[in-house]
Amino acid sequence: MSTAEQDIIIEVKNVHFSYEEGGPDSLDNVSLKIRRGSKVAFMGANGCGKSTFFLCCNGIHKPCKGTILFNGEPVDYSKKGLLDLRGKVGIVFQDPDNQLFSASVYQEISFGALNMGMGPEKAKKEVEEVMDYLEITPFRDRPTHALSGGQKKQVSIADILVMHPDVMILDEPGAALDAKHTKKVNEIVDKLAEEGITILMATHDVDYALSWADEIILMHEGKVLLQADPVTVCTNVEALTMTNQEEPAVLRLFRQLRSKGILKQDLKPPVSMKELERYIEQTGK
């Protein structure tokens, strides 16, 4: 296996998936590669197949056609193979109420660790460490239904983190969260990315995807419409419009400033407001 091939953690080849036999394809000939340690944002209109794709990556859904390779090996759909895969590819579901089931936070987090075959002592240690890391120790004994939306999301992330996955999938982690909790969740995600965990995140926040991701995958009607670096995707207004997304505010502003001659034509598109501010400050000088 070449170094470039070793660098690919997930490879999807011509995958088709349908929820009903003979029904429309929710995933229609999807092919893509995910680099190890990268941060990938999945974008697209509601129902475009992002969540279905994630469930295929975790082995919950088996593709009707095509192959998914994890670390260069085709996914093994035997019981043992699936348990191995699920220990390495974790999903944080969009609605925490569909994920959290235990009567207390402590028990909830221990579930995945014990299922992976960790001994009780090791699992205890791991659970305590994850709770400390994500700052959820203060509500460790609370029932999951008594948590706020942000706390539930933190616990959902802890659920997966305790399993030490190589890939963490977050399905719209900012959905139904206020700005403060979204920031908190984003900080956690950044910390995980710094530790080398491959992050796949579904989001509708184009501004965040532009500044955060290494790569954006734009999906449309079960197909991959575009896979490229964030600037290439976010400057493709036609593709964004087709997938019900808007051009990021920072790029819109940059375009207008450039067209009015305020900013130089040869400047690279900024990925954040801070970068744009720097351009404007430099122009002033």
Binding site: D97, S110, D141
Partner: protein, 257 residues
């Protein structure tokens, strides 16, 4: 249900070993039922109320309000024993109504009072357990008592889903009200039925989603979670044993009278 759940998480007796609380309340309940004594019922009711309100710091007013529910139910059902309609007046009281009497005997009056006292004392035992023990701890006690694991797992999932579905039901009802879904009795009944149907469908959908989420965390048919147990304290065991011995003594004394 939600109030009881909230209260047990706030109780100061929450961190007392759950097995101790379970043994205490069940033994005490047994003495209440077996003895059928007014003295024991009085003692048990007083002790459980003291423990729940004073030691557990459960608000007294709320505790009293919770007790009124079974109390009203008991009063209604005991009326049939205490009140008779007869042509012949009995010894306790007799109110003439035409050619009949609303009447009762001393024996049935005493029996009714004894029944209410025993039932209220028994309820106080169960309230002590449910207001001071979380569901997590309670399930652990059941498992220790060799309750089938599948039953405990089902209880855990049902417990979780009660709250999820209550939230969903409440959201549906608010949405219906905001669209005049309760403008008259007929519409209200119709809305309630539709809410029930919608809730059933969502329950199915949610259970599928939950199963997927559990599978994604390597679920293989058995729910494994870490248990945390609070230490057993000798002083508490001694106090429980002493109290139960007193109840046993009174029970024997009352039975031999």
């Amino acid at each position: 249900m939600i109030v009881v759940d909230k209260l047990c998480y706030r109780s100061k007796l929450r961190y007392v070993n759950a097995s101790e609380k379970f043994v205490f309340s069940i033994l005490t309940l047994l003495f209440c039922v077996v003895s059928r004594s007014l003295v024991i019922a009085g003692i048990v009711f007083a002790v459980n109320s003291y423990l729940t309100v004073q030691k557990g710091k459960i608000p007294g007013l709320l505790y009293a309000r919770l007790l009124t529910i079974p109390f009203l139910f008991l009063i209604m059902s005991t009326l049939a024993i205490i009140v008779n309609i007869s042509k012949i007046p009995l010894d306790a009281y007799a109110i003439p109504v035409g050619s009949f009497f609303i009447t009762g005997s001393f024996q049935s009056l005493l029996f009714g009072i004894q029944l209410i006292a025993t039932a209220m004392a028994s309820v106080s035992c169960l309230y002590f357990l449910s207001l001071n023990t979380t569901m997590t701890d309670f399930l652990r006690v059941l498992l220790k008592l060799r309750c089938p694991k599948i039953l405990a797992e089902l209880m855990l999932l049902i417990y979780r889903f009660i709250f999820v579905l209550l939230e969903t039901a409440s959201a549906i009802m608010v949405s219906q009200k905001s669209r005049l879904g309760n403008k008259d009795l007929r519409t209200s009944l119709d809305s309630f039925g539709k809410m029930g149907a919608g809730l059933l469908l969502r329950a199915f959908w949610r259970s599928n989603a939950l199963y997927d989420a559990m599978e994604s965390r390597c679920y293989d048919g058995e729910i494994r979670v870490l248990e945390e147990e609070y230490p057993v304290r000798r002083a508490e065991i001694a106090a429980i044993a002493a109290f139960e011995l007193v109840l046993l003594g009174i029970t024997i004394w009352r039975k031999t009278l």
